[in-house]
């Protein structure tokens, strides 16, 4: 059986960054397994710019950002396989993990790994999951599928478009399709606020006079063969359709940009516990899951706003996996484990738990809120004892927040909570 110190499942931005970080931390026997034709993941089809300001200090397009990481992988001679699908991750002997994968060249094969980093990314919510009633014609795509058709294959999926959901991919595709000659009629957003970045509303919708209708949804899809139109309707505060406030919009295409779901089927089948809110694994500050030696980072762990943050998180996971291997496949001695409690408007935190070690380093806790709130404070407490308070003008579900908790504080803490109030 093939043996590797670290196997990385997925060669997108998370996988590449984790590989580079692990290599640079001294564990060099690495294999990246990627299902698509090349490294880079979904960035390969995100031809727009806006990536890399944090990471590289300049504005890059998706393929450029992907290229930078691909080059780092190649410069280091890190081994990778493309067009290869991981089928399962199981426990092997003495704490090793057996990763079973398949490709055309090798058939079904197994790799024994000392550590595994999960970097499978996420998928888009589909029409079926959204339960949109009506006919079931051709012409209903997730924004990412349309993006692949246009940017990779050079095919147009439609001419007259209604977009449901104001996630960034949907906004980006509104502009992309408009520039390619399509007529994007309206973007409907179920929530009373947009799910995408303000800058994208400006440069993708406002620039082209595309209306954004908040608190609106597609109530019905019309068309026996190809989409012929949609009934769009206002929703009440409980997100239920108000039939009296609906209108028919003619279109031949519907794009869905209604959220992303981490792809954790492998994780689940490996018996690793998931967080109900993030739909990703429960991890500690090293992004180690509840299974020793298995790490997760990037959108498979929780959906990020920016690829720059994915890279940052993957650095942590890659470094930690390298250390784990160097430490004889053992975690660093844990003094105590603190579960990060969510209070107030906080929906989730990553990490969900902090394993406090001797000489504990500072830990950055990432979190999201459940609603748009103005003039709030981000508060970190140890029990009832307030440790930190940061004032914010505005927080929104679409924007990840962070707080950095000092290592010295963690060493003495007993019950850590993060709150927005």
């Amino acid at each position: 059986m093939l043996k590797r110190d670290i196997v990385i499942v997925g060669g997108g931005p998370a996988g590449c960054a984790a590989a580079v970080a692990a290599f640079d931390a001294g564990t060099k026997d690495i294999l990246i397994i990627e299902r698509d034709e090349g490294l880079g993941g979904i960035l390969r089809q995100c031809i727009h710019n806006g990536f890399g300001l944090h990471r590289f200090g300049e504005e890059l397009t998706g393929p450029e950002y992907a290229d930078r990481y691909k080059n780092m992988v190649i410069e280091r001679n890190i081994d990778y396989m493309v067009k290869t699908m991981v089928l399962s991750i199981e426990d092997g002997k003495d704490g090793a993990k057996v990763v079973t994968a398949m490709n055309s060249e090798n058939g079904v094969f197994a790799v024994e790994a000392k550590a595994v980093i999960l970097c499978m990314g996420c998928r888009e919510r589909s029409r079926g999951q959204l339960n949109i009633p009506g006919d079931r014609p051709a012409g209903i795509y997730t924004a990412g599928t349309a993006q692949r058709f246009i940017n990779i294959k050079g095919e147009m999926p439609g001419k007259n478009v209604v977009i449901l959901g104001s996630g960034d991919i949907g906004l980006i595709m509104a502009r992309r399709m408009t520039l390619e000659g399509a007529n994007v009629k309206v973007v409907c957003e179920l929530m009373p606020y947009s799910g995408g970045l303000n800058r994208n509303i400006v440069q993708c919708l406002n620039d082209f006079n595309i209306p954004l209708k908040l608190s609106h949804t597609i109530a019905k899809i019309h068309g026996k063969d190809r989409v012929e139109g949609v009934t769009i309707a206002k929703v009440d505060e409980r997100l239920r359709v108000i039939p009296e406030e609906s209108e028919y919009v003619e279109c031949d295409t519907i794009l869905l940009s209604c959220g992303l779901i981490p792809e954790n089927e492998l994780t689940k089948s490996a018996g690793i516990a998931l967080d109900n809110v993030t739909k990703g694994a429960v991890v500690n500050q090293d992004r180690e899951t509840e299974k020793d030696g298995v790490y997760a980072c990037g959108n498979v762990l929780h959906v990020h706003d920016l690829v720059d943050y994915v890279s940052e998180e993957s650095d942590i996971a890659g470094k930690a996996a390298a250390k784990y291997v160097q430490n004889g496949c053992k975690d660093q001695e844990t003094v105590k484990t603190l579960n990060v409690e969510k209070m107030g408007a906080v929906r989730y935190t990553v990490p969900q738990r902090i394993d406090v070690h001797e000489n504990q380093e500072d830990v950055k806790v990432y979190f999201r809120v459940g609603a748009v709130l103005k003039d709030v404070s981000l508060v970190v407490r140890d029990g009832d004892n307030e440790l930190m308070r940061i004032k914010k003008r505005k927080v929104a579900p679409g924007e990840m927040e962070t707080v950095k908790i000092k290592g010295s504080v963690l060493a003495s803490a007993e019950r850590i909570s993060v709150s927005v109030e």
Binding site: G62, P63, N151
Partner: protein
């Protein structure tokens, strides 16, 4: 803009998307709400001569069904985006092409078009 006139803008320079307020004063435009100098620059440009970076793909003529992603290497006039797309719709690239290669110089006299991906 007349003196005393106010405009609300969202800065598109980075993902923060700062809410800017631009007020015309006797000494020129006064910008508030920005967290970095780029916000002020953006507001000035947006109100006089708005520009955008254009990204699209070009057909690779000697690689069946392949496209290469490209961008303008600097922003171009916002009002010329559609005209630029029309010019580029006839442009084909010959492989091999590497990230950073200029594939179409001086698009409408405003910027070069460079490849943002590689096709061997």
């Amino acid at each position: 803009m007349n003196i005393g006139e106010k405009r609300e803008l969202v800065c598109i320079n980075c993902p923060m998307g700062c809410m800017l307020t631009a007020t015309m004063t006797e000494n020129g435009l006064s910008v508030t709400g920005n967290t970095c100098p780029r916000g002020e620059k953006y507001a000035n440009e947006e109100l006089t001569h708005p520009t955008r970076t254009l990204t699209t793909t070009l057909r690779v003529e000697n690689r069946e069904g392949k496209y290469v992603p490209v961008k303008t290497n600097g922003p171009i006039s916002k009002e010329k985006l559609f005209e630029a797309m029309k010019v580029l719709s006839d442009v084909k690239v010959t492989a091999p092409v590497k990230t950073g290669d200029v594939v179409f110089p001086s698009l409408l006299g405003e910027a070069d078009v460079i490849a943002t991906g590689t096709v061997d």
